[in-house]
């Protein structure tokens, strides 16, 4: 009871403060708001720069990808590190030491998750047909991030979810046979090493971290713009690797309470 009263008071106070701050906000959809067009006294607006110049700098039509993977790629690298850290934290928290006496016994057959044999045929067959298509789509999303909505995170999540689908339809062990713990730890680390590797390569060529333009010597392109475009793709691949691995790792650890013996 006390918690509800306290919560209501806290919420009313916070809400009114927030609403008070809203009163001098620009209207919804205003193209001249400071966020969209900059304000007097400051540097030229970054979003306007992105809209107008980023195609000339990077030859990538998807503005969100170009900002994400080039201008603010430092943030994206740390976003990937966040996902990796979450996966590690979940494994560290839940990872069973020795045997977990609460674990359910492992069933040798692949039908612990669905009642009876009959529905397994439908689900199993559907999944067998659908998963390759899903994975292909995931790879398409990663590769096509430059031209349409997509990119490393989105593609990585879809790819990870294909393995989760296998685990849901069959047994966690089935999925783990295909994507073992050792593999996904390795894949996750490799993803970030790819990302960091690109950046360090730029530093080795005597420019700032993640300054892709200098990679034109390595990729042998005509100018820095295409080098940036290629490096962005490489970096997105790294992100997709880590996200795939960790998405599946989170599911596997949470569903089996860390034991990786039996899932849902």
């Amino acid at each position: 009871m006390f918690a509800k009263v306290f919560a209501t008071i806290a919420v009313v106070i916070t809400g009114s403060l927030l609403l008070y701050g809203i009163t001098d906000f620009p209207a919804f959809g205003d193209p001249d708001s400071p966020a969209n067009a900059g304000v007097e006294g400051g540097a030229p607006s970054a979003p306007l720069y992105y809209i107008n110049e980023s195609y000339n700098d990077t030859k990538v039509p998807n503005l969100v990808t170009s900002v994400l993977a080039d201008y603010r790629s430092y943030d994206t690298m740390f976003e990937t590190v966040v996902i990796f850290a979450a996966g590690m934290a979940i494994f560290a928290i839940l990872g069973a030491v020795g045997t977990d006496k609460d674990a359910r016994p492992v069933h040798p057959q692949m039908n612990t998750s669905v009642n009876g044999d009959h529905s397994r045929i439908i689900v199993g067959t559907t999944v067998r047909i659908v998963v390759p298509v899903v994975q292909l789509f995931a790879l398409y999303v990663v590769a096509h991030g430059h031209h349409s909505p997509g990119g490393g995170f989105q593609g990585g999540v879809i790819l990870g979810s294909s393995f989760i689908l296998i685990a849901l339809a069959g047994n966690l062990s089935t999925a783990l046979e295909r994507f073992s713990e050792r593999s996904y730890m390795l894949l996750a680390s490799i993803g970030i090493l790819i990302y960091g590797g690109f950046g360090v390569l730029c530093m080795a060529l005597d420019r700032n971290f993640l300054d892709y333009g200098v990679l034109q010597k390595v990729f042998l392109t005509d100018g820095p713009e295409m080098a940036r475009s290629h490096a962005m793709l490489g970096v997105e691949v790294g992100v997709a690797c880590t996200v795939t691995a960790i998405m599946f790792a989170i599911y596997a650890n949470l569903a089996s309470r860390g034991t990786l013996k039996d899932g849902l």
Binding site: F6, V11, Y50
Partner: protein
């Protein structure tokens, strides 16, 4: 009625985000079940994401992806026109046929909030994952996910913990 039209309508997206956020915050503080608290946390974070994304909206603007094909078609058209002696519009870039920098910016939504919120969503998911694993551990230790029962167990177990 005037109040609604003048105060709320131009800022209705911000009102919505405040209400959502307060619902989430109330759930985090007031709810007894740990999972419901996490759901409240999730709503709370989503409301902030809503705020940022609605910042970048411009009236009549489309997604922040430049239309590659339109540019090629126009370049081809302009090349033809140039052959026929028509002047090229100076300073033309890809985008709508009107050309000009300001017009381009008006038709494309602000990409920066989208980028920021991609990061925020990922961070939110990661936090939720870690919080869920901790609640699994709590369940293993206490056998319950209700906060009042956990606190009772902690008080009772004070002497022998």
């Amino acid at each position: 009625m005037d109040f609604i039209r003048e105060t709320i309508q131009p800022h209705f997206n911000f009102w919505i985000y405040v209400i959502l956020m307060m619902i989430g915050l109330w759930a985090v503080i007031a709810k007894n079940n740990l999972i419901k608290k996490l759901i409240g946390l999730s709503i709370f974070q989503t409301a902030i994401i809503l705020l940022y994304v609605s910042l970048g909206v411009k009236d009549g603007a489309t997604i922040p992806i430049l239309d590659h094909h339109a540019e090629e078609v126009e370049m081809a058209e302009h090349a033809e026109e140039a052959e026929h002696g028509v002047e090229l519009v100076p300073g033309h870039e890809i985008g709508p046929a009107n050309g000009g920098r300001h017009a381009l910016a008006d038709t494309i939504a602000n990409p920066l909030p989208h980028v920021l919120m991609l990061t925020a969503i990922v961070v939110g998911v990661a936090t939720l994952g870690v919080a869920l694993s901790i609640s699994q551990m709590v369940f293993k230790e206490f056998g319950t996910l209700e906060e009042n029962e956990i606190l009772e167990q902690l008080k009772a177990g004070n002497t022998d913990d």
